[in-house]
């Protein structure tokens, strides 16, 4: 909380060094020029998602348009912006959760390792097995802690020893020591922060490659939030994480790259459509953004 937003933590710096992308101006340029330049610089295996010209409609309403961005492996990518800017909508395109909303329609391409997730041959159920999701409000099932974690492995008919899977997931989610003696007890008896870590454990029990987090800390107190943020730093070594957050300090603390979205009001129809304003290294977004709107937002002068 007290950390200045423009100073990257040691972990962040180390990580950037290791990926060899440390030149802010270069990254900023690459984004401004479009995705092609950047794609040549980094090996394509490091790009998990490549979003091209994404528009999402809800019925006649255009919720967000012209989104282009790339998500890299083992990084935390944060989506920030005011309410209604489409950041959650975009996040839900990565595991096709938007399919569940009647009237939702997606245009453009969301490439996952080069495969378009919106290709008609893609089964959204399979997508969601590989790309986990953690929601705004902790939503454990009203079952035991054990059964919550075992839910995904059981769905996919895993032949692994479930006890091992449960223990590993809970350890990874830094929850094992707190719950190891009450695995058969209801998950509903845990605190909010524990429930959210349980949901993270449930998501990673099936060993997805990516974890999507939709404002995972907005219902938690600062201490629980800090624990989740620590956990995200740990998980980054094995997973690629995308997080939507209302909390700019959180984006600054945890993420490697930040996408800033905002709303545009259509002067004719008065409809509000979300747009991606700027996508760059987090350090750059919070210290020297290219776009004036980004700067106004991150400095609190939202206009």
């Amino acid at each position: 909380m007290t950390e200045p937003t423009d100073t990257p933590t040691p972990t962040e710096t180390a990580d950037r060094d290791s990926t060899g992308i440390d030149d802010r101006a270069d990254v900023g340029l690459a984004v401004a020029d479009g995705s092609t330049t950047e794609a040549e610089e980094i090996p394509s295996s490091e790009i998990v998602f490549d979003v091209r010209d994404l528009n999402v409609h809800y019925g006649d309403f255009l919720a967000v348009r012209d989104v282009n961005l790339q998500v890299r492996q083992h990084e935390i990518t944060a989506f920030i912006g005011p309410s209604g800017c489409g950041k959650s909508t975009v996040l839900r395109c990565f595991d096709r959760m938007n399919d569940l909303i009647e009237g939702a329609r997606v245009e453009g391409r969301v490439l996952y390792h080069g495969v378009d997730l919106y290709d008609e041959r893609i089964d959204p159920v399979e997508v969601r097995k590989r790309i986990g999701m953690v929601f705004q409000k902790p939503n454990p099932f009203p079952k035991s802690i054990y059964d919550n974690i075992a839910f995904g492995p059981r769905l996919s008919g895993s032949r692994e020893d479930l006890d091992d899977v449960v223990e590993r997931a809970l350890r990874q989610a830094a929850l094992w020591d707190e719950v190891k003696d009450r695995l058969k007890k209801s998950a509903m008896g845990l605190s909010g922060g524990q429930q959210q870590r349980l949901c993270i454990a449930r998501a990673i029990a099936v060993e997805p490659e990516v974890i999507l987090m939709d404002e995972p800390c907005s219902a938690l107190d600062p201490i629980a939030t800090a624990r989740i943020e620590d956990l995200m730093h740990e998980l980054k070594n094995e997973y690629t994480i995308l997080i939507v957050t209302h909390n700019m300090q959180q984006a600054a603390r945890v993420s490697d790259r930040t996408a800033f979205f905002t709303t545009e009001v259509n002067s004719q129809s008065d409809a509000r459509t979300g747009r991606l304003v700027e996508f760059a290294e987090t350090r750059k977004i919070f210290s020297a953004p290219d776009d004036e709107r980004t700067e106004n937002y991150v400095t609190g002068r939202f206009g």
Binding site: D95, M97, L100, E102, V125, E126, V127, R128, K129, R130, G132, M133, F135, K137, N139, P140, F141, P142, K143, S144, I145, D147, F151, G152, L155, S156, K184, K185, S186, A187, M188, G189, C199, R202, A203, V206
Partner: protein, 334 residues
């Protein structure tokens, strides 16, 4: 509430600001609270009082029959008003059997419709489905009964029951049940009852299913559940208590249903058989068929049937409730 606790906690003069006025709420508002509480309490007590009065006065009316028959009122199946023998076992059996048949037929269909309307149907189909189900619930039971006796029973006897009886009636186990050729029978009563209770069970369980939080559905979908897996793991466990409640209300209506059953069950007193395609009788049907010409002990015995029906209904409800709550406690791991 906040006001009254505040004036217990803070003595006059301690109040920030000194005058203490704002913390001591006006008495009139508390009078309103008290009035509301007594009205609510009174309404609750009236329900209990009505129940107790009904139980007491019917038991008194039925007393001559209970006294002369003793326990054999519910253990004997000989019902012969001319000889003054009143054993209700066959009627209890008929009520339970026809209701259980109705549930077996109705619950899968009702849950299917409820899940379809809530989870699968596109919104332009959902509305009409719900509307039609609500309409079905509004049809008076005598209409179902008349349809049953004029259309359904004459059709089922020769065209459905007889062929089934010929085909499997001699088999072991299955033949014990699928035997007989009477159009007016336990089975026909069960079918009519199933049609009558389906709208209630559908409508109530649909409302229960609609209360399953979106977060629970998303949790299951987010883990890569298919629609059916989501229903099985998120919707049904969450709604189980309410769905069982809906089924119990349906069962209550089936057991108490009088006129429709009286028309189609066949009015065969004393019949206790596993043969579903044979005529029988139920408690409510006997009451409505015989009450007009009954007097003395016969009349008391019919009221006694009402008391037994009342008790059976309560027992079914109470045991169902306790099953549900035990089930839920275990599912939640508390």
């Amino acid at each position: 509430m906040a006001i009254s606790s505040a004036d217990h906690a803070i003595a006059p003069g301690d109040t920030p600001g000194g005058d203490g006025m704002s913390l001591f709420g006006s008495g009139s508002r508390r009078r309103g609270d008290r009035l509301f509480r007594s009205v609510a309490l009174g309404a609750g007590l009236v329900v209990l009082a009505v129940l107790a009065l009904i139980a007491a006065s019917t038991t008194r009316e039925a007393w001559p029959a209970f006294r002369s028959e003793g326990l054999s009122f519910i253990t004997s199946s000989t019902w012969n008003p001319a000889e003054g023998r009143f054993g209700a076992l066959a009627f209890i059996y008929g009520t339970v059997l026809s209701s259980v048949l109705a549930l077996l037929l109705s619950v899968p269909v009702s849950l299917g419709i409820a899940l379809y309307a809530n989870e699968a149907a596109p919104s332009r189909i959902r509305r009409p489905v719900i509307y039609v189900m609500d309409l079905l619930a509004a049809i008076p039971s005598v209409v179902y009964g008349l349809w049953g006796i004029i259309v359904l029973a004459p059709f089922l006897g020769p065209n459905v029951y007889a062929p089934i009886d010929r085909a499997v009636g001699g088999w072991p186990i299955i033949g014990w049940f699928l035997h007989g050729t009477s159009g007016r029978s336990f089975m026909t009563a069960g079918i009519i009852l199933a049609i009558m209770i389906t709208p209630i069970i559908t409508s109530l369980s649909r409302e229960v299913i609609a209360t399953v939080p979106a977060a629970q559905r998303e949790a299951a979908y987010g883990m890569g559940a298919t629609r059916w897996e989501m229903i099985r793991t998120a919707v049904l466990p969450w709604g189980r208590g309410g769905i069982v409640g809906a089924v119990m209300l349906g069962l209550g209506r089936a057991m108490g249903e009088t006129i429709a059953v009286a028309l189609v069950i066949g009015s065969q007193p004393g019949q206790i058989t596993t043969h579903l395609f044979e005529a029988g009788d139920s408690m409510a049907a006997v009451i409505v068929n015989q009450f007009g010409e009954a007097s003395g002990t016969h009349r008391a015995a019919l009221v006694g049937l009402g008391v037994v029906l009342f008790i059976v209904t309560i027992l079914v409800n109470v045991s169902a409730r306790s099953i549900v709550s035990r089930f839920d406690r275990r599912a939640r791991g508390v």
